[in-house]
Each structure stands twice: as C-alpha cells, then as structure tokens.
Subunit: 440 residues, 4 copies
C-alpha cells in the first residue's frame, strides 16, 4: 500500500483503508513481510521511533517458524506486491515484528498497545454476500485469509498513530506492538525477550469481535486460555501396499489412532479445556504404504497447570499410538501461550475511557466462547515489572464466526476502537497520579 491508495480513498478513514488493503494481502505467521514493512514505514514517516526485525523479536525464541523455502517465497511475494523496501530486508527470515514509540513532551506513564498482524490458512469465501468479495478486497492469496480481525487491529493502530502524531499525549509515551504470529501463540513470546515491553506501565491488548456486538466493550476478558500447539511427525516404513504390505509400517495408522485418543482426553471438572487435531497430512497414493504422517494438534485450559496436564496426556497418546503400529514419533512444541488476568487499575482506566465514549460495558462469559491470545506474554511481562494490563474485547458485530471463510466484522467498530485507544492513552497521561495509581 502506498501513497496512491491512501491519497485516492476520499471519505474512507485510515483505519478502513488500511484494514481493506491488509485484508487483500493476508500473510500468515512470520511471513508478514508486506504487512510489517508497510506498518514500519508508515510509523517512521509519522516520526515515531521504529524498531523492526531482530531489534523487536528474538529469532531464537520463535516457535513454529515456516521453513526457509516458504519464508523466501513469501518474502519475494511481498517484494513484488508493494512492500516497503526500506524495512523489508530487516524482516528477512521471518523476523516480522515492528515496535513503534512516540514520546510525549513530559515524563509520564508508558502505555503499550498490542496489535497482532497475522492471517490464517483459510480459503476466503467468494460468496456475493461476503463484503470483502463484493467490495473488492477479498484475499488475493488463495488459501490465506484475515479471518480473525487482525486486519482491523492494524487499521486501528495506524489511525491511532496518525491522531497521536497530530496531537501527542500530554505526558509519557505510547508504544505500539505490531506482533506477528499471534495465531499459534508464537510471536509475543519471542518479542518479550528483546526487552521491548520492559518499562511499560500500562499494557492494553484489544481484540474485536468475540461475540460482542458493535457499540459494546468488555473491559477484561479473563477467560483467556493457556494452550500448547504440537506438531507430531509419525515415521514408519514405506513399502508397496500390495507386494509387501507387511514390510511397511503405515504412519497414517498412528496418526489416526492418536487423533481419536487426543479427542478422547478427559474433561477436567471446573475448568474450561479444549483439545483439537486440526491437520493430518501423510502419504501420496493408495498403493504406497506411507512412512510419514504429520499431525497438528493443540490443548487449551483456563489454567496453566491444567493445560500442561492435557499436553502431557496428549504426548503420551501420541507415543502410545506410535508404539501400537511399530512407528516412531517426534513431537515438537510449535506454539503456546499462558494465561493472564487483568489488573484492577487497567480495567478501571479502560472502563472510564469506554464510558467517556458511550460504549456499553458487557461481560464476556465462557459460554460465548473463549480463546487464547499470546498478548498474555506481554501482559505477564508488564505485570512482572510492576505495571498493569488488561485484555479488552471491542464489540464488532460479525457476519460469521472467527476462523471461518465468511468471517467479516462491522467496520463501524473501527472508529469506536480508535477512539477507545486514544482515550486510554490520553487518560493515562492526563494526570501524574495515574502512573502511581497503576503502580499501586
């Protein structure tokens, strides 16, 4: 996205314009080369202090990074579709994080806002009733889609940056964390070790949708689940399925048995838990006994220890399934997040800000569904440093559920979100006492 589109969009807000451009060019975790470079470039042009690549993300703390070939292909694709050449090279290898900071005129609270930027491996709907299709911003990358609303998060953050640039907060600083690979719980955990969240007094992560209608807001979503994402690779022995079926060890049998076993892990009374096998891939044709099968799975729970228990049981199930069929299995943790709870001071500030804007406060319950978000890595870091944090739900009516091909959100939520974020920043800066209150 460049000057042209921004210039030519007339009445469209920055948030909507960016949201639609990013929506058209979705990029999955650690391949957000176009997305991150454009964001970095825009923030730099606005005069913010910008850190990218290895300054913003610890290469070695990332999990589930795509292989070199995939990273290269995505990089080249970004280079050919309008990425910002000034920042692109710094992101090479999947270091697609951006951190941008604006300092106010006086010392004061350091506010951090998280915006996640990755898309999902979903084929977007081509149905005429699907707004992105109708309005021409459907994904141009087949099989990749912004189906969770992260495009909206980016749009809000950029418009917020413009507003704050025009009128900086009276005190303190604002830092925007553009975080890759939220899906899978892989990006935040790798940004924290670089120290980018150190010294933040107030951390707010906003997610739109989540079942909340436009005009509402949940000041803290405490049901965020811890999770563990595993990749299991079963390895057997290949053979001709007719000439020598008995000489083969069919890796798919291990995958199949493990899939049933993982879904059969027990419920834990009093806890929200989840288990899912989301992908199986193995074999080529029916006349070759396949010697390799890959399974992607995850466990979740509303308490870290419960999730660890489920993860351990899942690993046991995978190993047992391998043994059953004479296979071996390699299990790799490719993502995972912890839980986090909101702090009272942060919640109160968010609630006051929402009230100022007329957003209706609601409570999110587990029955509406709870997910995971690795914003918890930022929250925990800030809390460890004495700061305060909350994970906020921004109402945005949905056309279809998150992570489905017709997902779309009400863009009327974007200006409300920008307003809320701005109010939070200004509210924090408004009085020297705020910082102390947060630090209580």
């Amino acid at each position: 996205m460049g000057q042209r589109r921004a210039a030519g969009s007339g009445a469209e807000s920055t948030a909507v314009r960016w949201r639609r451009d990013i929506h058209r060019h979705p990029e999955t975790g650690f391949t957000e080369f176009r997305t991150a470079s454009l964001t970095a470039g825009r923030l730099a042009d606005l005069g913010w202090e910008v850190r990218t690549g290895r300054d913003a993300i610890s290469q070695d703390h990332r999990l589930g990074v795509p292989d070199a070939a995939e990273l290269d292909a995505a990089y080249r694709r970004a280079a050919g579709s309008g990425a910002d050449e000034r920042y692109l090279p710094s992101l090479r290898g999947g270091n697609t994080a951006v951190v941008a900071t604006l300092h106010g005129p006086r010392p004061g609270p350091a506010v951090g806002l998280r915006a996640d930027i990755d898309a999902l491996p979903i084929v977007e709907s081509r149905d005429g009733s699907h707004l992105p299709e109708r309005a021409g911003f459907r994904s141009v990358h087949d099989g990749v889609m912004h189906a969770c609303g992260h495009d909206g998060h980016i749009g809000m953050a950029v418009e917020l940056a413009e507003r704050l640039t025009a009128r900086p907060p009276s005190a303190g600083s604002v830092t925007l964390f553009f975080q890759p690979a939220e899906e899978g719980g892989r990006g935040a955990r790798a940004m924290v070790p670089t120290g980018v969240a150190d010294g933040i007094d107030l951390l707010v992560a906003v997610h739109l949708g989540l079942g909340l209608p436009t005009g509402t807001m949940a000041s803290s979503l405490d049901g965020l689940l811890a999770n563990s994402k595993l990749r299991a690779v079963f390895r057997g022995v290949s053979s001709h399925a007719s000439l020598a079926p008995h000489e083969g060890r069919n890796a798919l049998l291990g995958a199949a048995a493990a899939t049933l076993a993982v879904h059969g892990l027990p419920r834990i009374p009093g806890h929200e838990t989840r288990v899912a096998v989301g992908r199986i891939s193995g074999g080529t044709s029916s006349n070759i006994v396949p010697d390799r099968a890959e399974v992607l799975l995850e466990t979740r729970a509303d308490e870290g220890a419960v999730n660890e228990d489920l993860e351990a049981r899942a690993r046991t199930a995978l190993r047992g399934a391998a043994e059953m069929y004479g296979l071996t299995v390699d299990i790799e943790l490719i993502g995972g997040v912890t839980t986090a709870r909101a702090d009272r001071p942060a919640v109160e500030l968010v609630e006051a800000s929402a009230a100022a804007l007329g957003l209706r406060p609601v409570t999110a319950s587990a029955e509406n569904g709870v997910a995971s978000d690795d914003a918890t890595a930022f929250m925990r870091r800030v809390q460890e440093g004495g700061g305060s944090a909350s994970y906020v739900g921004l109402g945005a009516s949905l056309a279809a559920p998150h992570h489905t091909p017709r997902f779309d959100f009400d863009e009327a939520a974007l200006p409300l979100g920008v307003g809320l974020l701005e109010e939070i920043v200004r509210g924090a800066a408004r009085s020297p006492a705020v910082r102390d209150r947060i630090r209580e």
Copy 2:
C-alpha cells in the same frame, strides 16, 4: 530427448539411455506429456504408424484424472523440458497414450506389447549409494520418481522398436502400447474402448523386477490382483477450535475412524487380499476445526468378486465413519483393475523365447508378493477377441523394493528384456501356423 543425446551416448544402449533420461523426468499418471511426446516422436521418426491422444485413449473412460490446474502445470513443465512439440498438443488434457504399429511384409500374427510409462509420487533418495543419484539421473522433479521400473519398460520398447525397424518381423505386425497411468489402474481401461487392442492375436505385458533376479523370467504371473482405488472426501463444519469447538464437525475424525476400520476389514480364507489407506490430507492449523479431509484407499483380491466384496465393505466403513461424527462423505472410484489369467499358447511362446535366450524360468508365488496391473484390461480384450495373452515377469535384481525411495533395478536386465521381446515377436511371425495355434 532427441537426436543429440542419442547420437552422443557412445557405448550406452538405447534402452539404458532412454531409461535414464525418462528416469530424470518422471511424470505421474496422465501427466506423461514429455514422456509420451518423446516416445511418439521417436517411433514416428522410425517410420512406425503412430496414434496419440484421443486416437489412443478414450478421454471419458479415464478415472482419477488430475484437475485442470495440475494438468496445465505439468504440460507447461513438459514444454519447457524437451518434450516433442510435434506430439505435445495432441496429449493436452491428460490424453497421454501412444500406440505405435509396424507392419511386416506379409500377413501374420498381430503381436501387441504393453509398456507402461507413468511414475510415482515418491521423493527419490539422495543417498550416495543410490545409482540414479550417483550417476546423475536422479529425478529433477521433487516428489516424483520412477520407483517401479516403468522407465526401463520404455527403454526396452524403444530399443526394440529400433531393432525391429532395422529388421522387421517376417510376417504380421507389432504394436507397442505406451500406456499412461498404470499406477492406480486407470490408463489401460481407457485405451481399450478406442479399439487399439482389437485384432491383436498375442498380447504380452512385461514387468521387470518383482523379486525375480536378473537372468530369470516368469512366463506368467497369474496372481495379479483385482483392485479398487477409492477417494473419499469427508465434509464437516469448520469452526474455531477454542471459541466454538462444539459448532464444528471435524472431518479428520471421520478420516481417522475410517482408516482404522478399513485396515480392519476381514481376511477372506483362501484368497490373497489387500487393504490400504495410503493418504490422508485435511485441515490447516490446529485452531481451526477442519471441514474437509481426503482419504485415498484401495482394496485388492485375487478374484474380482472378492475384491468387490472388500470394496463394498470399505464403502460401508467410510459411510459409517462419516455418520459417527456428523459428517458427509463422497466416495469416488478413481481406479481399478480386474484379474486375468495367462493362456497356454502365449505362455509356451514366451517360454520358448526365453529358453532360446538362456533365461532361467522361475515361478512367482504369492509369497514373493503379488500386485495388480491394468495390463489385464488389454489381456481380457485380446482374450475376448480370441487371442492369447500373458503377463511376464522379467528378472531384474533390485536395490530396494518397488515403490520405495531407493528402488533401482539392475540395468543388465534391459538387453535381456529387449532380446526376449524381440524373440517373442520373431517367434510369433516365424511360421504361419503360429497364428492358428494361438487362436486355438
């Protein structure tokens, strides 16, 4: 491959030269654009009457044809890697069959020889001990490999054609059937309806390897199994694995349960049977409940009715698995062959020819393994027309079993095979009485 390579290869035989070139450029079923076009071109240059494309294969009788995008990609790849432009267009759309005929000076027996030309979806070994790697003719197409010996079949057929061109049989005719998509049992069944095998008096299909050492020959492999290849697509409902796991219907669960059930189909006393799930593919990431999973499977038996029984049971298992998990399933027959038995006259002619060459006759037993081959479609057609047929095993010591990444055969078998085929052709033509004998 053209005149250049043929001219410059010095001591290498035509069979070896072609085998290695084809090995380097493997093409899977119905995408043998380069292979078929080069073969057609060479046979035409030798003066044989050549039929290709829809003259040699009935487009509508093919099963399991790749989709248009895959066919196009393969076609373009072939065009860019030395395909014969004279014949390439006729093959477009996956009509990759070639039939070439040479007429002797006098009427006489019509001899048909089958050479299958497709490769397999296997990643070829890069091990230094693997001859194709060491000698520089490893597959250039990652994930595709001639791992069954069809490259050798082509090499033998082309060298045979050269010899017969130089010295035609004294009577009758010779027809070479270069058949696509033998793997999966999809090509021969589609060539037969065009009439290319009508009027053939003697049909011989030779396969190398099969556990027979170089220097031996099995004059009839009667254990060929009937088979059915199925593609089952389970369809469920996608949802976010954490927000709404209960709203999804995970297609992988159906695939997993069906896989275990298909492998559990009962043994049938007194019969060789096989069942195999060779591929599962479904889902993208662990946080999305996958709404689609594809399973490739097959059943085999040494009697058509027994195979039909197994196929019916497999279909029942697939449907039940879908019901269990609230899914639907579409089941498509994507390949399948029948059984066939050798005729005494054909076997006797093959045995006499082998004896003349000093090949040691051996008997192939089920314990050495039996597979399927859709050469049976040609055999049955010829037998229905009153002709005689046999499926012949040509000894060729193997470095590793068929359909495995290190499969390689002893190239010393190639001149023996060419000699055997030539002797069969000349034997059939030698005496006017032969035709009658065959027709008895």
Copy 3:
C-alpha cells in the same frame, strides 16, 4: 437387621449401627429388598405412616430395572439374610421404595427429606487399612459395595426418625423418602408420579462427602448435572474366527469404535460436561466372532439442553459405529436426571440450622467435582408445587474418593448430619410464618 443387634450395640449410635449393618448387606438399584424392608419395618414400629412398593413407586416409570432372574435372586437373598418379612412381599419386582410420614400436633409446614438407599457394583477393598474390613462390616456380597455413602444416609434418617418420634415437631409433618436406584438416576423419577412428594413445602436432600471435610456444610450444591444413561447393544453375525472370519460381523468392533467416538465428543464452552463409557461386554472366546456386545455409557451437563445435545451426538456415534462394521445397534435410555437449583428460603433455613450447630459453611465449586443426583426430580416437583428445595452437602472426610473400592467416610459426620436434619425440621415447624416464607 433386627432387635437383637439394635439392643446389643451399647454405646454405638443408631446411625452408626444401621450404617454398618446396611454396609455389610449392600444392594444395587431396585434390589434393595433387605434395606427397604428393614427401614419400612423400623419406621412402622416407631409409629410412622409407611407406604411401600407400588404405593411409593410407579412401576412403569422405572428405567433400567434388572431382569426378572436378577430380581428374584436378590429377593431370595434378602429373604435369607434378615429382611423384614412384613414388608418384603410389597417390594417384589423391584418396587423398593419406602415413604414414611410423621405428623406433628398442629398444622404446619410439610418437610420432606430424601435418603437414597442403593449400593454400587464395586468390589470392596480387603485392605487392612479399610475400616469396614478392619471393623468387620465389609460387604458380604462380592462385587457390591456402598461406595457412595448411602448407607450413612439411611443411618441418619433412621436415627432422626427415632428422635422425632421421641419428640415430634411442634407443627406440620415430616416425610422421609427412602429412594431406591439413585445411581443411574432411576428411582426418584418413578416415585414422583405416585404423588408422594405432592404437598411438600420444603424438600432437603443431604449427601455426605463430596470433598467437604467433617464439620462443614454446603447449603446448596447447584452444580448438579443433568445426565443420560444409555445401554447400547450391538448385534452382528457370529462365525468361526478361522474357518469363516469374513462371514461374521464382529459386534466388538462397533463397541470399540463407539467407545472412542463417545469419549471424543466435543467440549462445550462455558459448560461442565461429562461423557463416559463405563462398561463393555461381549463375546466368549477368541475363536468365535461375537455377534453381540453391550456398552453402558452416559453423558452429563450442567444444563439440560446441553446434555440432550451430547446424548444425541452419542446416539449418532453409536449408530455410525454400527454401520461401519455391518452391525445393528439398539439404544435404550436406562436412566437420566435433570438439573435443579436451590431456592433462597430453603437455603436460608439450612444455613441457619447449620449455624445453630456450629457447622462451618463452605461453597462447593465445580473444581471439587460435581455429579448428578435424581433428588432433582423431587426438588422440581416440590418447586412446581410452590415449595422450596435445596440439595445440601454434609461434610464427611473421606478415606478414598466416591465410587472407589476404598471409599469410606468419617462416621463422626453422622451425628452432625442427624443434628442438622433435626434442626431443619424443628426450624421449619418453629413458627407458623415459616411456611409462608417458604411459599413466597
């Protein structure tokens, strides 16, 4: 149990004496012939109005009744081990309910107390550390055990009856519901249709244990789960496993696949749910393909509609599993309870009574585990009639969890429970206003 033991037990309280006697002679659901007859006899001897058999239970509303042979055997066993012959005949056929009422001198609130009386099919521990073993009241019926505390419930109810007989409540009435077949959720639902709970103003069901230590009390356990108990019988075709394996249809394969599928039913966000296959039984020896397999399973949820959804999914899984393997399946609902919530007036009265006795109030959370109890059938009936109800947890420290072979509870809880029940009865009667308050 008869006069002799009661007379000779010296310092032992009635509650402990009865508890131990009943513990020694455990009887599973609808076979509580000895238990019910002794209870009826004792209450009648005390002068209470007693209803038994078909006056107390609707024969046709019972689910999961054992077959005639089992009922007869249990009946004869009871007759031979001290059952009260006056009441035994009325219970024949498994109508093992007893309802006993005592009227106070003046009109007033009708108080109902539920005591469940059935045991479980568990082999009791013979370990020396297990009190019933050590103290000589281990179960004399191998494979049957009071492993949930119902023996304690009976003991408390009988001692309460003695106390109330000695000093009746000042007003109103007290009705004791001795309910069979609580395990499986089968007894209460069949007692309610006889009208025995009609007109009750205050219904309290007390369960001991549940993770609460002796000396504590939870005035309302609202997490009671709705449940559905299913018996699925898979039917296939028998054959000789070696001569004709393919002619059989192995019913165990359906049972196995269904078991894995039922355990794989999805979690429902925001709800406590349970699924369990608790029994599989089928086949005789390995050389006979079994044509029958029985599976006992259950679903539970903290909301009726959620449980119905799970039950429907379980039924689908069972049917799909049958189809997979060419079987049929019959599915029978053999038990099931609904949920119920406590009423404020009942809770307040219980809390006041507990306070008067010095019991420490605690809150039971789902994390401590929640179960189901068909006391909810009484509660709902009373609530429909305008009365008030609560399900109360009585603290009793446990040697091992409920439903396990070493289950045992601290008998010191029994006098506390008797005291609590007495205080509730007297509290309700104490003031004419109570009844109105309850009826608010």
Copy 4:
C-alpha cells in the same frame, strides 16, 4: 450316561447314543469331568488299559485353565449329573484327559487315534428346526454347546472301542486319546509331556464336518493353522465418572484401541492368516471409570513363523494401546498350537481304508476355510519319534457352520467314521510290513 439310556435306546447305535448324551451335557475345556469320567469308565469296562488325570496330562503344561471356583463348580455339577464316580476324583483340578489302550495278540504297529472332547461357550439354538432341540438333546447347560462336533468324535471312538473289543486287531495296539481343551489349543500340548504319545507309529486325528459333505473324506488337511491365544488385561485407575473423570484411567479405552489395532494387523502375502478379538469385558456401570478390562484375542497363520510375527505385532499393539491411555497391560498366552503336515504313509493308509469303505476322496482347500487343531502336538511328537501322522477330514453335512448356535451335523456320518477308523486300525495291523512302511 448310564446303563438305563444305553439299554433303552433300541436301534440307536452306540455312536449316536453317546453323541446325544454328551451333546446334552457339554463341558468346556478342562471342565470335562462328566465326559471324561464316563469315557474312562466305559473303556475300563471294556477291558482297555486306562490312564486318566495326571497320568494322562501334565498339570503344569496346561494353558488357560479356569480358576479354582469354576473348576469346582463344574466338578460338582458333573458329580450331580451322572459322572462315573470311579474316575471322577482323578480328574479333579481340570486334569480331564483319558488315554485308553487295547493290545492285539501279537506285536505290531501302535496306532493312536485322537478324539477331542470339549464344548464351546455358545448358547445353543432353541429353534424348532434345530435337531438337538427337536429330538430333545439340546444342551442342558445354558451358554455351553457342542458346536464343533467333538460329541460326534467321542461317540465314534466309543463305538470303535466296542467293535475292537469284540474283535481285536490282529497285531499291535490301539490307543485312544480323549483330549480335553482342544478349543484354544490347550489340551494336547499338556498331554504330550506325559509320554502318552511316545512309541506311537501311526497317529490319526479325525474331524468331522469342515465343509465336507457326508460320504466324503479328505485324507490330509494340511492347511491347519498355527495359532496363539492371548488374554490381555488392561489396568487403569478407577474414579467417579462425574466427580473426577480426569483422575481415572479408563481401561476400556485401551481395550477399544487395541481391538481396532489388532484387527488392522497387515495381511501377509502368500499366507493364510487370521486375527480376531473375540471377547471384551470390563467395567460395571457408566458412572464408574473402569480400572480393568480383559480382552481375548488370537492370531493364526499357515506357518509358525508367520503366526509368531503376528503374535508379536499383536502384543506391540496391546502395549501401545495401554500406553496411549495411561494404562498397564498384562498379556498371557492362554493357548496356542503349531502346524503339522501329513506323512505319505499315513495318508496312503487312510486313503486305502476310505476306498475300501466307498468314501469319496476330496481335497480341502483354504477357500473352504481352515482352522487350527492342537492334534498337531500329537502329530509332531509321533513324527519326531519316527512315526507317521495325518489329520483327516470326515465328511458330515452341516445344518449351520461350526461354532454357531445352530451347528448340527448329519449323524449318518458317524457309522462311516467308525468304519473308517476301524479299517485304519485293521489295515495297519494286517501285515507286519506295515509298521516298517510307516517307519520308512
């Protein structure tokens, strides 16, 4: 069976009379107290030398012996239903083997004939079309049935003994091996170590039925399969299915997964193989997580090494299934037989004998079904000692397949079988040369 019935049966042959009596009183492996005692008594009364109990069977070499309680119950039942008190005590503890020998007047070949005597755990049909029901000799023991024809084997052996007593063979000896626990492959292996088969020159085991019509005979059934019978006991942890499902480890899940895996063991090209899970038993009710599940299974193959391979894979599957679900598993071999091949001299003698009687020789093929028989233990022992052996199929048309509730055989086969056995015995004795021929 006593004098009365024998006396009163008029025209009925001894074979039919005994067959029907034994059929009415079926006894499973190692509980054949009535059967063995009556047989021993009758043979002793005829003057044969009789060995029973520990003289005929090595107590310690038996596999899969029922537990003491079951043995005792069966013993008492036998004592109460006409067992021969003279021999009953010697059989106590399940040592239910009988060996009876008759010596001819001169030295000569030692002929051994095997008759197996155990019944199966099958509920016999009550259908009016089922002869045993109609003719009043249906099993009086519910759940136990002679559904394989062993009752006929006993009948033939006893009538043969009567004939040979009346007219002894001219030379040599005849030994009848009444063998318990053929089903499961447990009896013969325990008799051989006592030496009862040492010195036998010619061993013939006859089985009726097997798909051969009355009037035919197969002189050698070489397809007898080796087998291994396993009992696997999965052990987990019990818990309340609702209060603490996560604290339990459900043993049924291991049983279910293992069942699917065992049925999925691969086919072995060129070999007859079998796998079967024939029984699962575990758990009591749905609200208790079961901590124990028992699985009975078997593998078979037409070659010992192939069966060993399958058994090893089955054990691996069982262990893996246990690991998957946090269980342990104990695997016990409870039966198993080896293969054996017929010797030419034995076959020739059988064929000559059959020809003399006009029985039509047929060949049994695997397609008609092959089973296992532990007569192979006798055969191998005799062959090791230099003797000759064959397993002979005696035609007997069947009403329903072996091991099914309506199994019944044409009793017209019994006199044919007696005649065949007599002819074999006399044929062997006829000429001194026979022994040498056998010993060649």
